[in-house]
């Protein structure tokens, strides 16, 4: 007996070829099985959803299910927890949004599948952040960092600060004109450096002190970049960035030109060092 046949045997009015039919499994011993039941095993509800309650499934049917379910999976069926299915639907709906679509369409032909997946996760996280869902944003960021380490953290930060839209897209457009035959390779070189090392960006988090910010900026100067962007969210981080730049202005041996853009407790400060770059990123 195949799995579909078995479902027909245990589920009332089961229509295997109706695409809307959804099978759901529960294990709820408190379910009232006297309503809408069939052989006391299946509770059918919400029309298209048919539920198998393992708690009340007979031993014989459970044994049959045990032997049939693995082969159903082999035939391409997927068993998925409700919350995960919901997350997949949210992700897919989000990816229909124009702002996300534009970024993914731009990145897809240019970067590896693994990196694209990190960006997909990061864009989903950014969407939660923009909807002010702090708990979910933090959980998603943690999961991305847990799997992809520093690169995952860098991409989530770059994504939230819209580096694809504000930096990578214009860069690629410029390269397509200036290096028409080699734009893809040069772009990828810049991209890899950006996501691996953040050569011209400092993302300030609550754990960083003013000194940490200064050390990080001094470290970035080693890449020879002329401008460093410092990003921070929240009043405390913004204050630390302001103090760090003030200290740099007083103590640095080179002259600093600064720009400060603040909106909704988010700041992007850029500082330009007036000593020429010692190292060219394109080399």
């Amino acid at each position: 007996m195949a799995f579909l046949e078995w479902l027909g045997k245990v589920i009332k009015d089961f229509k295997p070829f109706d695409g809307a039919v959804q099978i759901h499994i529960t294990n709820n011993s408190t379910t009232n099985t006297t309503t809408n039941t069939y052989d006391g095993n299946i509770v059918s509800y919400k029309n298209s959803i048919k539920e198998i309650n393992l708690a009340v499934l007979s031993d014989e049917l459970k044994k049959e299910l045990t032997s049939l379910l693995p082969s159903a999976i082999d035939d391409g069926m997927i068993l998925l927890e409700d919350n995960t299915q919901k997350l997949i639907l949210e992700l897919k709906q989000g990816e229909q949004q124009q702002d996300i679509r534009i970024v993914l369409d731009f990145l897809k032909p240019k970067i590896s599948q693994e990196d694209l997946n990190i960006w997909r996760a990061a864009l989903f996280m950014r969407d939660c952040y923009r909807k002010n869902d702090k708990t979910k944003t933090q959980r998603l960021k943690y999961q991305i960092m847990q799997k992809y380490g520093d690169k995952g953290r860098n991409i989530t930060n770059l994504c939230t600060a819209e580096y694809v839209e504000k930096f990578l897209m214009p860069l690629h457009a410029d390269l397509a004109v200036s290096h028409p035959d080699d734009a893809g390779r040069i772009f990828l070189k810049f991209y890899d450096l950006l996501v691996d090392k953040l050569p011209f960006s400092v993302f300030v988090c609550s754990k960083m002190s003013k000194i940490d910010i200064i050390v990080e900026i001094e470290h970035k100067k080693r890449y020879g970049v002329k401008v460093i962007y410092i990003h921070g969210i929240g009043a405390a981080n913004i204050d630390k960035i302001r103090d760090a730049i003030r200290d740099l202005e007083h103590n640095s041996e080179c002259e600093i030109e600064k720009k400060w853009e603040e909106e909704n407790k988010t700041v992007v400060a850029s500082i330009r060092f007036k000593i020429p770059a010692t190292k060219n990123l394109q080399n």
Binding site: L4, L7, K15, P16, F17, D18, G19, A20, V21, Q22, I23, H24, I25, T26, N27, N28, L54, A55, K62, L65, T66, L69, P70, I73, D74, D75, G76, M77, I78, L79, L80, E81, D82, N83, T84, Q85, L87, I88, L91, K92, N117, I118, R120, A121, F124, M125, L140, Q143, I144, Q146, K147, Y148
Partner: protein, 78 residues
């Protein structure tokens, strides 16, 4: 019929049992006959019951509930 069969939290352990798995004292999914043998997720990491989100094709691939697994899985689902 939709090719995805969903389940709720209450059915996690019972579903694993249908596949000959159980949960050890530390919360990891293990083989019923050999509790020292931890079940690995697609990323090669031992899988905790709290992270167990499903099973898919490929000599039974156990799916994690984190966003990275969701992104990989999203294209497989209509």
């Amino acid at each position: 019929m939709n090719k995805v069969i969903t389940f709720d939290k209450s059915a996690k352990v019972a579903i694993l049992e249908l596949f000959g798995k159980t949960v050890d004292a530390q919360g990891y999914i293990v083989n019923k006959g050999n509790s020292a043998e931890k079940v690995l997720a697609a990323d090669g990491e031992p899988l905790e019951i709290a992270q167990f989100a499903g099973i898919k094709k490929g000599s039974l691939v156990f799916v994690k509930s984190d966003i990275n697994s969701v992104v990989s899985l999203a294209d497989e689902i209509q």
